[in-house]
Symmetry: none
Subunit: 201 residues, 2 copies
DNA sequence: TTATAATCTAATTGT
DNA sequence: ACAATTAGATTATT
């Protein structure tokens, strides 16, 4: 087993499994508990595997491994598409679902688009319209953590899956946090330059 | 002749997401049961520019066209962009220099260019040297998903910012996938014409 | 003009 | 829920 791109860092022990290629190389590691995983990697990593020489293949390496079978929930379980969020926010009524008319049309369209994206096996990127974004942004300004009921309402009104709404708010929150960090940095920088500028005369 | 770089700016009507009027109309959404939400929206919006019917697509008319208005936030006056890389070193100079002498000159130049690009909000394009590209390509052949450790190692060796390494690999993967798609398309096209060609005589 | 660095966003994954 | 990261699309620079 070759461990060339994963190391145990003292502050950050995340294994970077988000990348498909990385996951491919460590496919066998998923069958054991993560503590055992750490031991394996550490034992391999005892002496600095991360030299450019090793990366460039100047040391003999084993051939590349095969592709994994990623988890694609939407490829085969289309009927259980909306089930995932029902039980999440403890207070939800499981019975309503009386308004299925808008959904059927969307399901067939999505299914068609999924077959078009056969080569990836990935959900087709949702392209929100300007008005959809507008509504979502307006709601976000008031409540950036909408509950399941508001999300369902928005999903119906905007003709989107509730999952898409959830993901959108997730990413929107991430974006807000990012911009907040940046503005803080700008304030610090401005304070610094303001302190330095007038002192020069 | 390809026209890939000609971009028609779609007169993006700059939706003013921060406008208080839009948010105000939805301010009361979360203080009442969600069943009443729609009625409020409808009643409030009956005579405004946004008829909620049109926004939500509830008016029965033409089937929904695909992406009537793509969202391009960077074309309008959004000023909060990624500026978190300002403090880092960005080596755009292709020359090998003794670092102590030229670093001050380079830093001032870069800082000047950054301030010029400030309101544009875009990092100056990094010009990789031939040897840098060579090393990066070599690493890419072995591992197209380098983890944080390899990226840091490369950044040190090549005297580049780690972010630049990451972006380079992202764009390199996109390029590979693009060429793969094109070759696949050519193969399919060739198979088709080979099937059709001999049959015509 | 072309190639590609940079940016943005939706989606995914592990914690 | 969040942070990191990916693909994909697009913009903008050399």
């Amino acid at each position: 087993m070759r461990v060339s791109s994963v190391s145990i860092r003292p502050a950050d022990s995340s294994l970077q499994f988000g990348a498909p290629g990385v996951a491919a190389r460590y496919l066998s590691l998923f069958t054991m508990p993560s503590s055992a995983v750490l031991r394996v990697i550490q034992s391999v990593d005892k002496k600095t595997v991360f030299t450019i020489e090793s990366i460039l293949g100047l040391e003999k390496k084993e051939p590349r491994t095969i592709n994994p079978k990623p988890h694609r929930p939407w490829t085969d379980s289309e009927t259980t598409q909306h089930q995932s969020h029902i039980g999440k926010n403890s207070h939800t009524s499981p019975e309503v679902k009386s308004k299925e008319e808008n959904i059927t049309n969307q399901v067939t369209t999505d299914s068609y688009r999924r077959t078009l994206n056969w080569y990836i096996g990935r959900r087709p990127r949702t392209a929100f319209t300007g008005t959809q974004i507008e509504i979502l942004e307006s709601v976000f300004q008031v409540n950036s953590y909408p509950g399941i009921d508001v999300r369902e309402e928005l999903a119906q009104r905007l003709e989107l899956d509730e999952d898409r709404i959830q993901i959108w708010f997730q990413n929107r929150r991430a974006k807000l946090k990012r911009s907040h960090r940046e503005s803080q940095f700008l304030m610090v920088k401005k304070a610094f330059t303001d302190l330095q500028g007038p002192a020069e005369q």
